[in-house]
């Protein structure tokens, strides 16, 4: 899943949308890889008023960027020698802006996506491009790989359902730019929002009452489904998550990983796959959980689950 942001505004939130279709994301990354000369670090180009760049960020820990591409990069006719290729890639990206986003983000309340915004972004980009004119550079080739980090498995508790387990990848989370700003809900959903995501908050349905029923309702407002309500293949990748509660005080989430164990990230501490006794977690219902004494339930989270 990719997060696209057109960095163009000063006061209001920038236009932001998600590319959830795996095929579309792969095509886009493939195009970026082919136009490697058009790709740059975020914030490296023009930084004045108006269109600055289009930012592309992978938000999943189990999707590898194509070789040569970082997890987060920018394109735009502003920061690279090959301005034409960069401008073309930025234009292609802006043209993917959905006119009615199926994934609701908090930014859409102030900056809704529509045709006028898309046209404005394209116009503003042309203005900036005229400021930055320079000659062309080299182009490159090959296509992106398939994802070896995700496996689809049948659910042992309800064999008609399937979900995806991914390679345990704590390094994605355990670094200074990510670890303090993402919690157990981010980890279990596998979405680095850098907002210490709270169940329901993305949909105006957050709760301050720390109990199984309230946190469950909040999470289901984000799109989680109770286990054994099978998710269709179109929701790939589908996670299996587990919710526990420290009654009255807090909640905690786990995510099933490839290899038969569970991963979790307690608050702003490091992501890990062992419990409070240092034992590999093979069942969140029975692992050592300190004060999180109430086991609530298991849930599926498909790609349409949005958190913030």
């Amino acid at each position: 899943m990719l997060r696209i942001e057109v960095d163009m505004f000063s006061g209001r939130p920038n236009p932001v949308w998600m590319i959830t279709e795996e095929e579309a994301a792969r095509k886009l990354l493939g195009a970026a890889r082919e136009m490697r000369a058009a790709v740059t670090k975020t914030g490296a180009g023009y930084n004045g008023l108006g269109f600055r760049e289009v930012r592309v960020e992978n938000i999943l820990d189990d999707v590898r960027a194509p070789r040569g591409l970082p997890q987060k990069f920018a394109v735009g006719p502003t920061g690279k020698e090959n301005l034409d290729a960069a401008g073309e890639l930025a234009r292609l990206l802006i043209e993917t802006m959905p006119l009615r986003s199926e994934v609701r983000l908090v930014e859409h309340a102030v900056t809704p996506l529509d045709e006028k915004l898309r046209e404005t972004a394209l116009e503003w980009m042309q203005v900036t491009a005229r400021l930055m004119r320079k000659p062309p550079g080299p182009p490159p080739p090959p296509p992106p790989p398939s994802n070896p980090l995700i496996t689809t498995i049948p659910d042992s508790k309800c064999s008609q359902c399937q979900y995806e387990v991914s390679q345990y990848n704590p390094a994605f989370w355990n670094n200074p730019a990510t670890q303090p700003y993402n919690n157990c809900y981010n980890y279990a959903r596998n979405w680095r929002t850098n907002t210490f995501a709270q169940p329901g908050r993305a949909h105006g349905a957050g709760t301050s009452i720390m109990a199984c029923n309230t946190v469950t309702a909040a999470a289901m407002a984000d799109g989680l489904k109770k286990r054994c309500n099978c998710l269709p293949q179109s929701e790939y990748p589908r996670r299996l998550m587990a919710l526990v509660i420290a009654p009255g005080y807090d909640y905690h989430w786990y995510r099933h990983q490839r290899g038969g164990f569970w991963g979790h990230k307690p608050g702003s501490t490091a992501a890990r796959n062992y419990d409070s006794n240092g034992v590999l977690i093979t069942d969140p219902q029975t692992c050592a959980r300190g004060p999180y004494t109430n086991f609530c339930d298991f849930f599926y989270a498909g790609k349409s689950v949005v958190i913030n």
């Binding site: 005080y249 608050g267 501490t269 062992y274």
Partner: protein, 107 residues
């Protein structure tokens, strides 16, 4: 002085400010602690200690010891943790029994 109680997983941790008098008292308590060697890593879930900063040095007080970037200080009487427990904001008073339950005598 900013103090954080590192205890939650999902919700943001409780954070509050000590007034100047309480901050000075905390510094005084901290400055008399002797060097120690024992440091017990906090558990994954539940009470993981109090975080505060003295003279730009980030400190974590947990289970009768204080760990900074450079050193470990022994606090067998839990003076720092008890001082900060007594100054928890009212909204978080309910956490006190859970925290105090972990303050068993050090071996």
């Amino acid at each position: 002085m900013r103090v954080e109680l590192d205890v939650f997983s999902g919700r943001p941790n409780p954070v509050w400010q000590l007034d100047a008098q309480a901050a000075a008292a905390l510094v005084a308590l901290h400055d008399v602690l002797a060097a120690g060697t024992a440091w017990e890593a906090p558990p994954a879930l539940g009470y993981r200690g109090f975080l505060y900063t003295i003279r730009s040095d980030g400190c974590r007080a947990h289970h009768g010891a204080v760990r900074t970037a450079q050193t470990i200080l022994a606090d067998p009487g839990y003076s720092i943790e008890r001082f900060l427990i007594a100054r928890l904001p009212h909204d978080w008073i309910g956490l006190v029994p859970m925290i105090e339950g972990t303050l068993r005598p050090r071996e």
